[in-house]
Amino acid sequence: MTSTAQELHPAPTLEPGRTILELKGLEKRYPGTHALKPVNLAFKSGEIHAIVGENGAGKSTLIKLLTGVMPRTSGDVIWEGKPEALATPHEAMALGINAVHQEVVLCRHLTVAANMFLGEENSRYGILQQRAMVKDAQKIIDDLGFDLPAHVVLGDLTIGQQQLIAAARATVRGTKFLIFDEPTAYLTRKEADQLFKLIRRLKGEGVTIIYISHRMEEVFELADRVSVLRDGTLVGTRNIAETNDAELVKMMINRSIEQVYHKEHFTPGAMIVEAKNLSGKGFENVSLSVRAGEIVGLYGLIGAGRSEFVTTLYGRHRKSAGQILWEGKPVQVNSEHDAIRLGMALAPESRRDQGLCLNLPVGLNLNLPIYKRISSNMLISGAKEKAEADRQIAGLRIKTPTRSALASSLSGGNQQKIVIGKWLAHGAKLFIFDEPTVGVDVGTKAEIYRLFGALLSKGAGIILISSYLPEVYELADTLHVFRRGKLVATHGFRTANHEDILTQALAEKQEKLGGQK
């Protein structure tokens, strides 16, 4: 642990108010990563406690531990004075710990009322009392001041409305401790106001609220205290009245430039790709270009439109307007096939969903894009297949017993090397890396960054998407900032400071200023 972390880590100040939940040295390790380093923290009844931090800072790990979704590695959880195991979600709920997730986890095909009472239905002689349940649900919803019907099917409501129902549901279960994980991500301002009213009301009833958000203004609007996580470490806890935007941002970002960032500078060469006023689903009017030997970083929050932009560039989704130029010539990219033929390669955001065939061998995954080349007519050359796979495994130092081991048996970092490695033999000119180091340990990160340098030296260009600011900051020659589907700012290598970039990616304030022109 660095000395800065020690300084920033004062004992949480306890004001009068009963401590309901205390964490003592709570810790979580995964194979290869230390997701949460020992955390000491006490939550009081009736407080709204915000938790902020960058993606991957350990917020979701903390929630999963508190709600019993995952077991902790070590440490104690003291609930109302007694140590608790919190081994299952059921146990957490029995204590009164509930969570409202960013994505609604309810049954879309059931009615609002059925969802509200899911698992504790009102029944007489085994027959559901449907009408009574709808009436009760409607009463709860009305009491909360939500203008929503209880008898409709949940899926007919907007995502925001569903989120409100999820919140309302959590309130009827004897909840004493309620966790909100980025609840406003999909809400309109009006829906958010209704949610805040609910949260304040719960606070008045003595419920402890954990509020996780990227939006600073919400934290300052709602919270009593705020804790900052960074790289799995609790950096500090502040009373909201005694802190400000700038301090929190400073605490969120690791200022020490780690040795892992290995940056090689090359003279930018010929233009590889140019997007001109490109629009599509999730982003609009984005213009940017990539030259040989250059890393172009795209920074922003999840959902800011970066992934949508690159998948459209790659032909996975249709563009609605704009133009793509490849090596100076206008091209149509209607499918991934077109993109790959031009010389693009995409290492997508989600290893599990988009990157790997998990229950197939490492070798097959590595060779998937190049089977055409290693087979003559239709038959695969077994020797070439083996040689190509072994070459990538050795070159990338993928830790696998053999090329025939299943991809699922490898660690996250080694899986990521496969996702990247399969494009190396293909000989692409433009490499798109979407969050290449999520869930990857520091050592593998450094290897991946070194690989970037090797690709650039061969005249390739790279688009690097990351939600982790130091990564794009230290590696990108050109850094574009995305917010809500728009490219809002562009910087050169280390020309802006972290605070400014983060503000551009997050702040509503900036948007209001921009709106006035």
């Binding site: 790659y314 996975r316 991934e336 096939h337 790959i340 995409l346 997508p348 969903d353 988009q354 990157g355 790997l356 065939c357 998990l358 229950n359 197939l360 061998p361 097959l364 060779n367 998937l368 894009p369 089977y371 055409k372 087979s375 239709m378 038959l379 695969i380 077994g382 830790k399 696998t400 017993p401 053999t402 025939s404 081991a405 299943l406 048996s409 399969k422």
Partner: protein
Amino acid sequence: MSTEAIAAEKPKRNYNALFGLTLLALLVLLWVILSVATQSFASGNNISNLLRQGSMIAILAVGQTFVIITGGIDLSVGAVVGFATVIAAMLINAGVPVFLAILITLLVGVAIGLFHGFGIVKMGLPPFIITLATLTSLRGIGLLMTNGNSISINNDAFQEFSRSSFVGVPNLFWMVILVGIPAYIFLHHSRWGRYLFSVGSNAEASRLSGVNVQRTIYMAYTLSGLCAAFVGVLLASRIGIGNPTQAEGWELQAIASSVIGGTSLFGAVGSVHGPLLGAFILATINNGANLLNVNAFWQRIITGVLIIVIVYFDGLRRRGK
């Protein structure tokens, strides 16, 4: 670090072969037991008969396996077999040369497979639904075409084929080899085979890696339709009639053979030798039960229990590594 890599789990490379050997051992064990338990099992006549019984399901199971590897299912194969007997019978009786009649029947199977691919890829229908729909409609179309009657095939040479043997092995079994070897090369040594696995494992990852997912799905169902039509030709030859209600429930036997042979219904796991062995294990059980005078109804129960036991143990081993 390197020791860690070596200490990690043993390669799974031999798993498929090992599983195949286990199935083969089971088959041999069954044969040995039946040879001892009954007098007639080991007779040349009975063995030939058993090979004939198992051959047609075996060929169906190979086509079915291609589809299951992509994560789909083809419920129509039994109906395609019945329909193909009608097409073949009508063409031959109409005086079309046998060679051409067979070719046209096979093309009909291809067309049905293409239609399945179209329904799944273009109309977005689940494989279960589109193939269930063709299962029932093909039987209906066949009944309309034949007015519900069987068509006797008046071509002795055509029927002679399925009854004859070549170097002591029934012709029908030679057909399994004829289908099995190219199928094996296709699945395990061609890039199309690799794509079947990758699409079944993760269609999105395959697409982003440049695999033509739609074409792969078309191909799987087309091959299944082709295998089914081929079996239809063989069946027409064997029973000498065209009848759309033939091969009732064969789709389930084909799926059972495939699953017993180690194919995972979740996709991306399967082989060619597995379903072949699975089909002959089922045929042996049926044949043996007949010889032992076990009530025919028991055969169905035994098949059901066997599916549960084999798939359960296979799942245990996969999970337990």
